[in-house]
């Protein structure tokens, strides 16, 4: 089972390589490579989930060089939680892309970059040392810059440039933070760093490191005030990529890495907790206020990503087991419903050729599947029972009340109401009423696109069941424990078995 960890990076890399190598000769090969790789990696992530639940964290020493000197790949509760989330969304998104990306030329390029991005994200999640985390983060980030520019239109290029500059800035902050951490602890292995910091005390340099890391990963996660690039970058990408970026990229590169550094390496202090909660609440409100006024469907969704990341940060920032569980559960739920919403926006754009809400209308009769899946996703994101978003928001709010943060709990409810208002507008203008000028001759999208959307909608519907004691133990509790029980994680990572 120890050999499982490197496969999450190796398989997508191999798939990307083969897609690039054979793609120009065999036009269908990259598609097959994309779907098969995503499927295999998803199945492996489920296997890893079961294995970690049974035997605890799995540590793989790359090239048999033992920790702390060698490079380690670690599968613990939090890693497998992220792996399942990332690869589930990636699988459904590739299925959606099969039909959607036919309109674009150079399909092999798309699948190559997609798989590279997947390899990077999985790499960030399984990496056991700080420098590899940075390297994989850059692999994922650089491929995502290219994918944002994929359409090579005016807006795509402008957005990609802005994204690339802000992303590079974030990466530089992170690298500087890693350099300072190395200077302080003389090691790169996360667990070893944590041990050194616990044994010798962090010293003042840790506050500088915290600031740098917070800015760097905050930029990647698009938390307010580091969010300016997201509303440009995410809508400009092709719809499947928007779904990946908003659904999982900002989480694996931003939130996951932030949690790793603050919980596993530096240690979670009350100051960090209050900063995270504050950033979370500000993102939550700023995102939703900016979203309400939008008429471009994808831009509206992008602002909601900022807002929902705020919920995740608030939950995790609370620092209590319940808060962390709520934050992680919301992270998982958000990746489902937000990727579904972006896929729906892609389906609408595919059928009508527009993203402008004012020019849509009456789509519920012409596109029943898209319409009903959008309804499910909108209700999920707005937190209406029985959809999954309701349960995770509920847990976060209860956790906030539990520690006496009534103001934050109230603001979370307020943001949820505004989210509902904003999505009522989407449903009203896109699907109700008489047809707009772009919706005359449109019809439902091809079967694979529908299949991906229906699968995600079904998951949104039953997602709340993950809170039941049985599934919760496997999925959310295990991830939460890996975060809170840092001492245990540290010893496991430093002892290669």
């Amino acid at each position: 089972m120890t050999a499982l960890a490197p496969l999450f990076v190796g398989l997508p890399l191999a798939g990307a390589f083969l897609a690039a190598l054979l793609g120009r000769r065999y036009a269908r090969f990259p598609e097959a490579s994309g779907v098969v790789t995503a499927l295999v990696v998803f199945v492996l992530s489920l296997l890893a989930l079961v294995a970690v639940h049974r035997q605890g964290a799995i540590v793989y020493a790359v090239g048999a060089w033992e920790a702390p000197l060698g490079i380690t790949m670690v599968l613990d509760g939090f890693s497998v939680f992220m792996l399942v989330t990332v690869n589930l969304v990636a699988l459904l998104v590739t299925v959606f892309s099969l039909d959607y990306m036919r309109r674009f030329t150079a399909g092999w390029l798309f699948y190559t970059l997609f798989l590279l991005m997947l390899a990077g994200m999985n790499g960030v999640v399984v990496s056991g040392d700080m420098f590899n985390l940075f390297v994989f983060l850059e692999v994922a980030a650089v491929s995502s810059y290219v994918l944002v520019a994929f359409g090579t239109g005016k807006h795509e290029l402008e957005a990609a440039f802005k994204y690339a500059v802000m992303g590079t800035l974030g990466s530089l902050f992170i690298l500087l933070g890693v350099a300072l951490l190395y200077a302080r602890t003389s090691t790169l292995n996360m667990a070893d760093m944590a041990n050194v910091i616990v044994a010798e005390g962090g010293g003042r340099v840790l506050s500088l490191v915290s600031a740098l890391v917070l800015a760097g990963f905050g930029l990647k996660a698009a938390a307010v005030p580091f969010h300016a690039w997201l509303p440009d970058a995410h809508p400009s990408a092709p719809a499947p990529i928007s779904a990946m970026l908003s659904g999982v990229l900002i989480k694996s590169l931003g939130v996951y890495a932030l949690c790793r550094v603050f919980f596993t390496v530096i240690g979670f202090t009350p100051q960090v907790s209050s900063i995270l909660m504050f950033l979370g609440v500000v993102s939550m409100l700023a995102g939703v206020f900016l979203a309400v006024g939008q008429w471009d469907l994808k831009r509206l969704l992008a602002y909601h990503s900022i807002s929902q990341i705020g919920y995740v940060l608030l939950g995790i920032g609370l620092g209590t087991p319940l808060g962390i569980a709520g934050g992680l559960f919301h992270l998982f739920n958000h990746s489902l419903f937000k990727s579904l919403l972006f896929l729906d926006s892609g389906a609408i754009e595919y059928a009508t050729g527009t993203r402008d809400l004012k020019r849509m209308g009456g789509l519920s009769r012409k596109m029943p599947v898209t319409s009903s899946t959008t309804f499910v996703a909108s209700m999920s994101i707005a937190g209406i029972p029985p959809f999954n978003g309701f349960w995770s928001k509920l847990v976060i709010i209860v956790a906030a009340v539990e520690v006496g943060r009534y103001g934050y709990a109230f603001l979370a409810v307020l943001a949820s109401v505004l989210t509902l208002a904003s999505f009522t507008k989407v449903l009203r203008y896109a699907f109700q009423g008489r047809g707009g000028d772009m919706t005359e001759s449109c019809h439902e999208v091809p079967v694979l696109m529908r299949a991906a959307m229906i699968a995600l909608a079904a998951l949104c519907l039953v997602g709340g069941l993950l809170l039941l004691p049985g599934p919760r133990e496997y999925f959310i509790d295990m991830a939460g424990q890996a975060l809170t029980d840092t001492v245990h994680t540290a010893t496991v990572i430093s002892e290669v078995r």
């Binding site: 520019a149 290029l157 990609a160 440039f161 590079t168 990466s171 690298l175 350099a179």
Partner: protein, 112 residues
């Protein structure tokens, strides 16, 4: 200590250039400056006064040699920097092809 501060000043200059300049090419130059500053910082972290190259050090002489690990990291970081720079220059060329200018004040169709 001075040398570390100078290094951070260089980083600050690069970041300033990235955030304030309006010409796309100057922004790219800013990222290169900031990247170089971080790489320099990594090398500085590894440096020991009077240290020798690790390959020349005899066993048991670890204190006398320069730490080789950050140097390996810098190599990786330079390669990553090359990739991002090449990508940004390519995007800049395409932007110039579409908009006919490198001035970001005129390339502002996305807002709101």
């Amino acid at each position: 200590m001075t040398v570390y501060l100078l290094c951070l000043v260089l980083f600050g200059l690069g970041v300033y250039c990235m955030l304030v300049k309006r010409n796309i090419i100057k922004i790219i130059v800013g990222t290169i400056i900031a990247e170089t500053a971080v790489n320099l910082f990594l090398v500085l972290v590894a440096y020991r006064v009077g240290g020798i190259a690790p390959i020349l050090a005899t066993p048991g002489q670890a204190d006398a040699m320069v730490d080789p690990l950050p140097q390996a990291m810098v190599l990786t970081s330079i390669v990553i920097g090359l990739a991002t720079t090449a990508l940004m220059v390519a995007i800049a060329m395409r932007i110039h092809g579409k908009y006919g200018t490198y001035d970001i004040a005129e390339i502002r169709e996305l807002r709101g």
